[in-house]
Symmetry: C5
Subunit: 366 residues, 5 copies
Amino acid sequence: MKEQSTLAQSASQEHSRTKRGKKTGLPPGSIVHVGDRRVSESKLELISYGESHFDLQPLTSPDDLTSLTTSNNRNWLNVVGLHDTALIEAIGRELSIHPLVLEDIVNTQQRPKAEDFEKYFYLSLRMAYVVPERNEPSLEHVSLVLLPNLVISFQEEEQDVFEPVRERIRQGKGRLRGEKADYLFYALLDAIVDHYFVVLEEVGEDIEDLDEQVLQHPNSAQLHQIHQSKKMLQRLRKAIWPLRDAVQATLRNRPHLISEKNVLFLRDVNDHLYQIIETIDSYRELLASLLEMHLSSVSNRMNQVMQVLTIMASIFVPLTFIAGLYGMNFQFMPELKWRYGYPIVVAIMTVIAGGMLVYFRKKEWI
Amino acid sequence: MKEQSTLAQSASQEHSRTKRGKKTGLPPGSIVHVGDRRVSESKLELISYGESHFDLQPLTSPDDLTSLTTSNNRNWLNVVGLHDTALIEAIGRELSIHPLVLEDIVNTQQRPKAEDFEKYFYLSLRMAYVVPERNEPSLEHVSLVLLPNLVISFQEEEQDVFEPVRERIRQGKGRLRGEKADYLFYALLDAIVDHYFVVLEEVGEDIEDLDEQVLQHPNSAQLHQIHQSKKMLQRLRKAIWPLRDAVQATLRNRPHLISEKNVLFLRDVNDHLYQIIETIDSYRELLASLLEMHLSSVSNRMNQVMQVLTIMASIFVPLTFIAGLYGMNFQFMPELKWRYGYPIVVAIMTVIAGGMLVYFRKKEWI
Amino acid sequence: MKEQSTLAQSASQEHSRTKRGKKTGLPPGSIVHVGDRRVSESKLELISYGESHFDLQPLTSPDDLTSLTTSNNRNWLNVVGLHDTALIEAIGRELSIHPLVLEDIVNTQQRPKAEDFEKYFYLSLRMAYVVPERNEPSLEHVSLVLLPNLVISFQEEEQDVFEPVRERIRQGKGRLRGEKADYLFYALLDAIVDHYFVVLEEVGEDIEDLDEQVLQHPNSAQLHQIHQSKKMLQRLRKAIWPLRDAVQATLRNRPHLISEKNVLFLRDVNDHLYQIIETIDSYRELLASLLEMHLSSVSNRMNQVMQVLTIMASIFVPLTFIAGLYGMNFQFMPELKWRYGYPIVVAIMTVIAGGMLVYFRKKEWI
Amino acid sequence: MKEQSTLAQSASQEHSRTKRGKKTGLPPGSIVHVGDRRVSESKLELISYGESHFDLQPLTSPDDLTSLTTSNNRNWLNVVGLHDTALIEAIGRELSIHPLVLEDIVNTQQRPKAEDFEKYFYLSLRMAYVVPERNEPSLEHVSLVLLPNLVISFQEEEQDVFEPVRERIRQGKGRLRGEKADYLFYALLDAIVDHYFVVLEEVGEDIEDLDEQVLQHPNSAQLHQIHQSKKMLQRLRKAIWPLRDAVQATLRNRPHLISEKNVLFLRDVNDHLYQIIETIDSYRELLASLLEMHLSSVSNRMNQVMQVLTIMASIFVPLTFIAGLYGMNFQFMPELKWRYGYPIVVAIMTVIAGGMLVYFRKKEWI
Amino acid sequence: MKEQSTLAQSASQEHSRTKRGKKTGLPPGSIVHVGDRRVSESKLELISYGESHFDLQPLTSPDDLTSLTTSNNRNWLNVVGLHDTALIEAIGRELSIHPLVLEDIVNTQQRPKAEDFEKYFYLSLRMAYVVPERNEPSLEHVSLVLLPNLVISFQEEEQDVFEPVRERIRQGKGRLRGEKADYLFYALLDAIVDHYFVVLEEVGEDIEDLDEQVLQHPNSAQLHQIHQSKKMLQRLRKAIWPLRDAVQATLRNRPHLISEKNVLFLRDVNDHLYQIIETIDSYRELLASLLEMHLSSVSNRMNQVMQVLTIMASIFVPLTFIAGLYGMNFQFMPELKWRYGYPIVVAIMTVIAGGMLVYFRKKEWI
């Protein structure tokens, strides 16, 4: 069933978190991959572009990256797969990135945060997308490093969240080609944040379907679905809250690598983060209300069944007693010999049953 | 039924939100209409007025708008319908409005916010009104742009929320004609905020009706109504909270287009927003309490039914057993031959039934 | 019943709030009375006093009020009845009070706030008192305007909350006569705030009565009372929270009309407001706990009834079956002809009943 | 019973609060005793000490107190009993203490607060102790006034909370004798705050006892105990929160009477207050969880009873019907004349009962 | 059972807290051990190391510690066992540590806090680890004192949480040997904080196991487990919240003993603390949702049982009545003599039973 697989998948994701503990006791800056290995082979893809040209090529070694930061082009290096710590370390050494940052890049449980160093700006966040084959939301750890003329993105799996940005560079649409690396950095961040809307729409549709069903046909499978949706929203929330803090901190102490005029775009991202949080919160509230409705509906339905049946049983109890009374085998029961004993008793029974029905109806019990 | 249609309507409104996702991946400043197309044709209406004159005319093209900002008149351009992005873009180009702002104007899911640019001041908010034919609250995305001598309002549908302002300009009542454009801006904002009171009164009356009914005749339809009212209040709250933040930010960093003496009026609006939020919150609390009352009432009523019926059944159980006992066909049952066996047994039964009634009454069960 | 009338009264008060909507669309500063007309005729009462004299006189017209602000006496003008907007407007014109303030004075739904103008200081608040004939708390909108040598108080009904202040002026007790108008302003504010304690004691006694009853004799009328008390506390809280904000803002930006040495008294009022809020909150918490106790008690009591009755029924079910078994009319049932068949069956029944009783007792069900 | 008396006692304490209202309408600074009179006679006790000497004497009149503030000794005046307002007023007059402070000293409902005057520092707080004869926590209003060389403590009853401090002065243990009056002030405050730990341990033990019992033998008396513990914790919390605010405000704006080097000790007190609040909050959370457990346990137990009994009843219902069937008196019922009719019917009954048992067991209902 | 022992253990830990009260009344700075004595003998272990050497030796007396602070080596003194207050006091005297700090070191109930003195920096915190033999989380009070060239750690029991640090010093791995004492201080703090992840993974696995079980086989033991997990999370939360406050305060007012370049590492610790808190909070939320699911599941299951059984009983009630009717012994009951009376009655019974089944099925009750 769909719910089962969601559970299994989220359970397995939760499980990967348990490996965080294996880092305990290592010196800080130890670059240890935490999480599942999602791709078989790490992949480096370099896109170089300028006002009028564009060049995409796979990269086999991280040498010579430093030269990119002083080139005339803008460069975007996309690293897919975080398990190859030697590769990540080589990149870090080449660009003098602090070991603590490298540690965060390969730790897929790292919470979203922004850190401004003199030579580069680091942002860690979670990317959300809907896995097409399972039709389910999934979260992935992404790191963005902004250097002069170079943006490096680290991701666990190859997903199409960045594809529209790649397309815009390729086609030279919009301002992307003409802007500096900080605009590319913003474009990638914006692509990730915007994709939360897609995921939330998916989740929201499920919740709204539930909303209609719960009031019409309450059943226990809905309980499970409410529980799953709650957990999914909680995971989205846990990914988005610290990201908002990070973006706000970035807005407050604008890093020198981000130019003044692009702050407006960051403010726009911040705005979207607020909207995402508000949407998540309103879905959470709706789910809480749905759970209440569900419990009440189930209880109402049960009460209805019990009430009707109990009333029916109650009517027959005294009648059965009377029948039992005249089923007794005493020798001296004068009624038994009366000519009209039987019809009289049946008449009495009818009166009792009728009286009870009238009484119950008056009490509005039936 | 009324509730059904409310549900359907709110569901359809929720549905339009799902289209937010289609913007994902587009470059920032892409002017894409998000939401339902509520009117067939966009409409431009220009009101020009001064101390002593007044002129209303429909506008067919957005050319020459720049000249308005330097005219001697105050001008109010009301744009109805947001789906015609070409038109909005033309207005934006003419007045050098930032593409991100234009994007927000046509995005009907945009959350309320204020942004101060050098040449204009932008405020996005939600207008609330009661749809007369359905007798139901509805929310609509509105944008206000304040320029020198010109206020532009963008709305989805033509509603009469602005009519009193138009009337005051027409009749020259109040200070409106003599004041600058920032006062008109305030008047429009005030008209929108004040209309929340009308909507809240509508919602409040429903809740107070519920309050009386729940305690007297609890039924499961009330559950549905409580759930619907909760959702409506949540939507109003989601519209009003960020607006208050926006108005407060405007008060803190007063934009140069808003004159010192009109700040007092903005403070008044801020005050109304507080009152609206407090009213919403107290209704929400009342609904929570109502739900508790409802559940308790239903449960109390059920308990009452069950208790009376169970007690009745319990009294007859031992009696029926005794009757069954003397209905047995053993050959050697001396009681059956006793002269007064039958009356004695009936007497015993009466004693048992009476004893139980006394016991139950002593225990205060009946 | 008492509860019914409370409900009706609070409902009617809530109802008057619905008239707030009629102001929508009017220009700001429109002086429209919002709320019920509680007195038939507006009344003006002027008390003039100095170190050594005292003079009380009704006032028929608001002319010459300006002269009071420059007189050697301190003056207190008490206005009872807010529906006569012409009168309020005349007072406002005479003393150059801003139309927005006048609007707030006659709007009985206005939330408490303080506003400092150059020439006067305005405070809007709610007065709470116990209506003697109904023994119920009631809230009333009050406005205080502090000018040099003059305090104006606007109230909806004539209540005795101000009487002790009047008495202290009359008898020259305390420092009141020797102090400036700001001390009178404080004395009036203090009288209103202190009266909340009286109201809270009234409410608190009801809640403590409930506390004792709920644990001893839970019944469904208590549900209603808990609900009513909750609503009353919510209304008091809604009146007192913004007042505390207003008093704190006054303490922060001390208006020049309030002298340095009287700030200590304002701090005392602030302190009382804190205590009132804490008391309200602890009552709310107590009510929430009471509701839980009530529901548990009702449920416990129901469970007890059901359990005893179900057990009794259960014991007789197998016995009745056995009796029915030997009530069958088969020709070949050897037991029926046994000499001791009947006593044996009765013995078996006794053993079964006894065994079940022992089992139930061992399980601690009875 | 213990619970009953706790209730009664706490109810009577709540009751004394209701007298707060009698002050309403009096001028500020009216010294009116609010609360119960707990001792028959007020008592003044003066301890004078220096580096090398120590003197304890009862005081009969408050004259000459001013001379103490300029003496070479440190002095501690302990006032027991707050109902003798004339005495308190005399002390206040002698030492020029502000009437508002005196008003707070005799108001046993005063919430904890600190106020710094030029000549003295005032701290109002609640003392918590366990009443030995009732084994129950109790709260008492205490005021501390710090003057140069003199500390005055006002308390309602004579309790041994201050005894260890007295003992330390008497024996010259620790730094107390060698320090200034501000250290004595701190020592008294510390003694009061530390005693909360004793009270919390008492309350905590009860709660932990409950924790064990609830899961093993849920019964309705536990409901009562949970409710009582909640109320006690709420009262402690209401006493400690404002005290923490007061101590923090004291730390922020260090009064000149408290020397720099003793601030460290005040920080220690602040730390203890935090720990007390955290302990109270964790007990509150534990109680909430306990209540949930209790309700679930009760409901589980009830369900278990109902289920077993219902199942038993259900098995006999069809059997009894079959027995009734063959108890009918029709003349033409061929089965009745069959040689093996009776054993066949008994066999059928056995099969039905067995089948139902198997079915129920498969469904895991029994 | 496992749960039982957890309960017992946590109860005993809670119990030790009750001894906090024995300090009440003692002068501040009284060094009294609060808590259980967990080791029989206190133990001092001194590790001295420099860039190129390493020396570990047990210490028998705390003399000459001062010389360490001025040596060329870095020194780490680990004190195991806090009950030997004479020893702790001797260390304190030797290094001029404030008595209040010593008091906090031996008080195992001390809440986490940081305090900066001129000559040393003090940090009190809780260490969390999983007790291997019981497979259960446990908390222990730890104090860290940072002096020039010397770090002293005080712990209750000898645990292996510090072992990785010791190992890194021994093997000269990482930067530890080459750095100053503040880096060692950070390394110890980091080791403690990182170990929370191990504990949380343990707790998290239990909760996720519960999550799966609750939806599949709800039973009352799960209630107990939810309650225990809640208590454990609450204890972890109570340990980690004040630690975060302490670390943040340390970051804000950087003590001079911590060098600028190591602040980055402290920020990393701070980051981990945030992540721990978020993980705890998400587990708490999950537990709350689990409890709701559990209660709903139990109630659903009960409802299902009751419904099926009640329906079955209801079908037989009218049939049994009819059987009883024809079991009556009236002499004049014409039906009894009819040739087809019996089959007709049986047919009627079948029709009634069938009709009820159809009706119930239509109502979706079965």
